[in-house]
């Protein structure tokens, strides 16, 4: 359902992505590995459509993602380095806004997602007062709530403790079981119970 073919991308003079190709079907998780600077973030952003590749194509459900951009984005949840939360709002309010602009969402749904990611206890505090790990848990709840079929996760376990890392693996497992697709840059091993884990190494010249 997600098809990446012949992707080339330059950042300035650096040929960051060289002929990257892969496919991901429902229930599959593609783990991106590689050294720092190998292009994992670049690839995730290119798939999301934030970066335009010089050559190659990203297709979703058979059509080029560039042409069906808004529909593609409606089915996509991207979690980048920053948790994308406004500091002055509480976790709950943040999710009500960020998910609300995508689809109608009830307070119960938000509460349930926050509980699942272990963020319910501090979801009423202003985000600026939370620790980095707590913010990440709120952000993960946002990914859960998005209802997106495709998850693009860039180092989702940053700032999380061991229990948090296990949480991420569990969330991915549950998403794959729902026939979702995950493309994730994770620097440690994802102990997934499902069999759909594929590894893609970047930067191997």
């Amino acid at each position: 359902m997600l098809n990446v073919s012949g992707l080339h991308l330059w950042r300035g003079d650096r040929h960051v992505l060289r002929d990257v190709s892969f496919s991901a079907a429902p229930g599959q998780c593609v783990q991106l590995t590689g050294k720092n600077g190998a292009g994992k973030t670049t690839l995730l952003r290119a798939i999301a459509g934030l970066l335009e590749p010089e050559e190659g194509q990203v297709s979703w459900r058979g059509s080029p993602a560039r042409q069906t951009r808004d529909e593609f984005h409606a089915e996509l949840a991207y979690l980048g380095h920053e948790p994308a939360l406004k500091g002055d709002l509480s976790g709950h309010e943040n999710l009500r806004f960020s998910v609300g602009i995508r689809r109608a969402v009830t307070a119960d749904e938000i509460g349930a997602a926050l509980t699942r990611t272990g963020a319910a206890g501090f979801s009423d505090r202003a985000v600026r007062m939370l620790s980095a790990g707590q913010r990440r848990r709120v952000a993960l709840a946002g990914v859960l709530l998005s209802g997106a079929a495709l998850w693009l996760l860039d180092e989702p376990t940053t700032n999380l403790d061991v229990e948090g890392q296990q949480l991420v693996s569990a969330l991915i497992d549950e998403h794959l079981a729902r026939n979702g697709i995950v493309v994730a840059a994770v620097h440690h091993s994802l102990a997934l119970t499902s069999a759909g884990l594929v590894s893609l190494e970047l930067g191997a010249a």
Partner: protein, 245 residues
């Protein structure tokens, strides 16, 4: 299809480089000849203006540079739009090459205008719509070049400055029509009018030839700058080594 091949050729940096190299001397030569003939016609042959006497001869430099400052901007905006829509690197390079040339034309237009304004209106500068709009055009050029300089990533710089160029093109009609829309000190159009121009033929032909000469000059300079731009952008590409050897 013939037009499509031609379009594709213009998308190829090596081909454009060769094209520019071949045509530069022709454009340059034509520009030089046209300018010499036009200057002779305008400064020597043309009669004095009954009102302005010899001072009117400033028009032979002022009008073409002003007209070109706008034409270059439009060219830049079109190249930028082509670069954005069809993602042609060469188009972005052309837009970048146009900018400093256009800025200099604008400075020349403003400068010659000031030199002409003193004997005509008694002042070097008046804040009338056309002059102000031309000054705004200069700021647009500076903004374009400043934006390019301020963004590190070359692809991002290309695209952002392209958006700016396209947005700024709205200023061109304002300059052109400002003398008609507002009561202005500046002379109303006498050449670029529908119907016959109202200028005397003896004065007119050198002026038209000067327009052409300056346009050819712009083309020459653009081709030279474009080659330099392409060399800089494609410095790591293999075709560069072949060309330079």
């Amino acid at each position: 299809m013939a037009t499509w091949t031609w379009f594709h050729r213009f998308g190829s940096p090596p081909w454009v480089y060769g094209f520019a190299a071949r045509w530069t001397p022709w454009f340059g030569g034509a520009a030089a000849i046209a300018m010499l003939v036009a200057l002779y016609g305008g400064l020597v042959l043309a009669p004095e203006d009954y009102q302005q006497k010899d001072a009117f001869r400033m028009v032979y430099v002022h009008a073409p540079t002003a007209w070109l400052s706008m034409m270059v901007y439009t060219t830049m905006a079109v190249a930028a739009a082509v670069g954005l829509i069809w993602r042609m690197k060469v188009a972005h390079a052309a837009a970048a090459a146009c900018a400093p040339v256009g800025a200099w034309f604008t400075v020349a237009a403003l400068g010659t205008g000031m030199l002409w304004g003193k004997p005509m209106w008694g002042a070097y500068w008046v804040w009338d719509p056309r002059l102000t709009a031309e000054l705004v055009l200069l700021f647009l050029y500076f903004g374009y070049m400043g934006l390019r300089a301020g963004i590190e990533d070359p692809v991002k710089a290309d695209k952002a400055s392209a958006v700016l160029a396209v947005v700024g093109v709205v200023n061109i009609p304002i300059i052109k029509y400002s003398v008609e829309w507002w009561n202005s000190l500046h002379q109303t159009p006498t050449v670029m009018k529908m119907g016959k121009p109202t200028m005397d033929t003896d004065m007119l032909w050198p002026l038209l030839l000067m327009f052409l000469a300056f346009a050819l000059y712009f083309a020459t300079v653009l081709l030279i700058r474009l080659r330099a731009e392409l060399l800089r952008r494609e410095r790591n590409a293999s075709w560069i080594r072949e060309v330079l050897s």
